[in-house]
Symmetry: C2
Amino acid sequence: MEATAPTAGAGANGSLAPAPARAQVGPPTNPMATALLTDQYQFSMAYAYWKAGKHADRAVFDLYFRKNPFGGEFTVFAGLEECVRFIANFKFTADEISFLKSVMPICEDAFFDYLRGIDCSDVEVYSIPEGSVVFPKVPLMRIEGPVAVVQLLETPFVNLINYASLVTTNAARHRHVAGKSKVLMEFGLRRAQGPDGAISASKYCFMGGFDATSNVLAGHLFGIPLRGTHSHAYVSSYMSLTEIPDRTLRNKDGSRICKDFVSLVQEWLHKIQAVDSLSCVFGDTNQSELAAFASYALAFPSNFLALVDTYDVMRSGIPNFCAVALALHDLGYKASGIRLDSGDLAYLSIQARKVFQAIEKEFNIPCFGKMIITASNDLNEETIDALNKQGHEVDAFGIGTYLVTCYSQAALGCVFKLVEINSRPRIKLSEDVAKVSIPCKKRCFRLYGKEGYPLVDIMIRESEPSPKAGERILCRHPFLESKRAYVVPQHVEELLQCYWPGSSNKPRAELPSLEKIRSRCMQQLEKLRPDHIRRLNPTPYKVSVSGKLYEFIHYLWLNEAPVGELQ
Amino acid sequence: MEATAPTAGAGANGSLAPAPARAQVGPPTNPMATALLTDQYQFSMAYAYWKAGKHADRAVFDLYFRKNPFGGEFTVFAGLEECVRFIANFKFTADEISFLKSVMPICEDAFFDYLRGIDCSDVEVYSIPEGSVVFPKVPLMRIEGPVAVVQLLETPFVNLINYASLVTTNAARHRHVAGKSKVLMEFGLRRAQGPDGAISASKYCFMGGFDATSNVLAGHLFGIPLRGTHSHAYVSSYMSLTEIPDRTLRNKDGSRICKDFVSLVQEWLHKIQAVDSLSCVFGDTNQSELAAFASYALAFPSNFLALVDTYDVMRSGIPNFCAVALALHDLGYKASGIRLDSGDLAYLSIQARKVFQAIEKEFNIPCFGKMIITASNDLNEETIDALNKQGHEVDAFGIGTYLVTCYSQAALGCVFKLVEINSRPRIKLSEDVAKVSIPCKKRCFRLYGKEGYPLVDIMIRESEPSPKAGERILCRHPFLESKRAYVVPQHVEELLQCYWPGSSNKPRAELPSLEKIRSRCMQQLEKLRPDHIRRLNPTPYKVSVSGKLYEFIHYLWLNEAPVGELQ
């Protein structure tokens, strides 16, 4: 995609910062993530700032969220790399400037000269590493720079983080409920919210612990393993076995050719229909289906996986599948398994497993009983949990709609709040305490306990000394006076790292590969105390501020809030 | 975007069909909507079809949905233009072919030569016009062509139609509940599912009846009117009035210059604070806010609209706004209004209106009472309905998260089913009757009654004569024997039109402008009987098949379904 992205190339690199660091950063995955991808009011404000000579005022914004999604007590942070790509390529084209002029005719020409000149060379971005487990109120990112420029970044950053973090978290939750041993495949392309809704879903579901996707473009862009066999339409496109013109199949080691694979399949079908222990298999199977399976096996003898529910799973799909799989076995191939896309998945998977095991025993075919059973009908966290409770024999889940659209909560609700301008801390008040922002340019730390679990996150003012391992520190709830605790951390991790140094000379943290971010996510979830992750009544993880920051918040709050008057 | 789209240009045009018709169709709006944007299993099937020599079998697929979304009884069809753009540019690049080779190493080289050669020059697409009101089971699109090619289109078509139709329908529902006189603005960019989730949302919300968007890129791409003023951060970025360096403002007719606009604002603030009837206005207002408003008005004197809830709507925001608006009025300008983004919107809008009306009366400022009140806090169909029931003074709604993510139902669930192959009708059975597909290549009609309302949609086999105005026709429920009715339509509308003639010489229906599609949508909704649209217990619209098609469905059903056996 690189060659086609409108913002590719070196033109967007700032002149002040070290060029090599920038040059590594490619354009956003979605070529539509350009500088115009923002809210109109960011331009109105930019103009008002510019008119007042305030546009270069140095502002610090925090990007954070207020509540964990899906009724859980954790979130996985994702979308950072796309944000860095966005700012690395942030620059208005001549065409974009003319468009802005046309929609803001009231603005002076010199303002558009200013817009033409801006990039992110004077913006600094600090962030928690992508794939980290994160919690409400703690800044995921801290963005500093000229107020007018940073405001223009608000909307695209929130857009790029919101869905990425939401769907990664959703994937991680599905992984948690399915267990480590199951294969999870993301099948959401057709039900995702538009093309890059789908592409993002594939990327971030992989990050959150999925193993593969059906989305070929996502496989191409991100190297995610691809999975997919055939649909019901493939099965019903066949009418009978006469539609298979070439029935020959060379056996696996190449030593000989079976001249009539179809007859071999038919022989096996008769044999298994004669086995008493396979009580579910009797009568005629559907011939369209048998033809489709045989034909598919001729194309993919080494990884034959069949969708068995087009007509009737137990009376047609399973015996037809077994006949083809046994014929393949005669030629040295090992069939992969089946997919169930309707009906009672717990029951059908158990029945199918019994048939496979009976065949293994009856015909002495090792491993036939271990055939992979894939399930894929409107699955989500709840249905997988229900399957687990009932007992099932599913090895792999294909999950689409509920996963990628985040059906149970379709947005994360990230916010982007001004916390300091020209070194003066700012607070955003609200009658709803949960919506009051935590002012000041801050540093954030995760404090770990003896058992290696994270105990609490703490935010401090930038000027305060960092917490140290082995030293007692007071951690206070940001708003509730009585909630506070002393903590002696065994280990201290600073959360915000510099991903975009702007005109500073700070070293820039690497943007790791998708595989590495995925591993980080898995490791972080494993390190978390299990009660924070469990589905039912999880324990909230604690987020705190230092004593000094607590006092400052409350000083500012009282200072800004009007005194009420009851009438 | 055209210049940057990877599939732009003439290369994708087929050689068989008339070139001029094709050349009109630009690339998909999202450059990522390329031929690789499909499920892996479409390629597995393509290979199996190709191996069996079946890839060119002529197949007919229907794209339809099974249930109207949001608990309603209507859906608006959208996404057609993007599908046509997709197929007009459908072609694999050399890079894409190498990628496919790498992930399907088992496939013969000649298969990739075949893939390299395919395009949609032999595919025919019939569709209901975009922006039409549509109902479950009736094909929105009928796609005919070589089975392997049409299968490759399944996933992108369903992807492009699903969210487009869902969010257009959601927008139309919001318009219905808000009423025609209100201004509706789509503010969803930051909460949408990724960049083009947002861009699609803006486009399709406009189509469904919204008036404007905040999304600047969508404004650029589609010409949708843009709206947006300032945020809470803008307000809190100011500390005091001393931060306004240039206080001069030329009056509207240019005749004179006010040297100190800020003092004028302060004078007005004192005046209104002295008015007894403005009982809600007393004490000091927030000076940061006053400075921000004054500064914003200096930048936008002709369309001053202020966000009034950063500190306290009635004690600070409203009096500060009024002071600035009155100062502007002295100089010949007319302020636009306010935006409320928190709190009790019904109560606050009513209180704000009272203040504006009191000021109109007190200072004899015509129209001050009609100041626009915009509301924008987590709004959706239900909250607008609740506001209507309480009574409110909101003139304009800014709607984001719930609208664009389709929070109450995040996917439409379109399907793409094989209905005929090589002229042989096919049916997809299911134990769930609602999931049985309606076989055969069909034509579809909407029958209108005397009062101009649509009465029923009817599907017939292609070979049957069309229904005619004034002639009695039997309309049957597709599955339930007892449900049938004779209809004498006053007017008959054929629903499926040819949008892509493939190698046929059929005339191609025009792709209308977004404005025209929007008008079609509004007109279609107005033509529908109100009980189909109402929010509470809407009446289902009837969808039927001809007597002949009914008989054929049931003949095929009995033929394909295995006879059960109870044990």
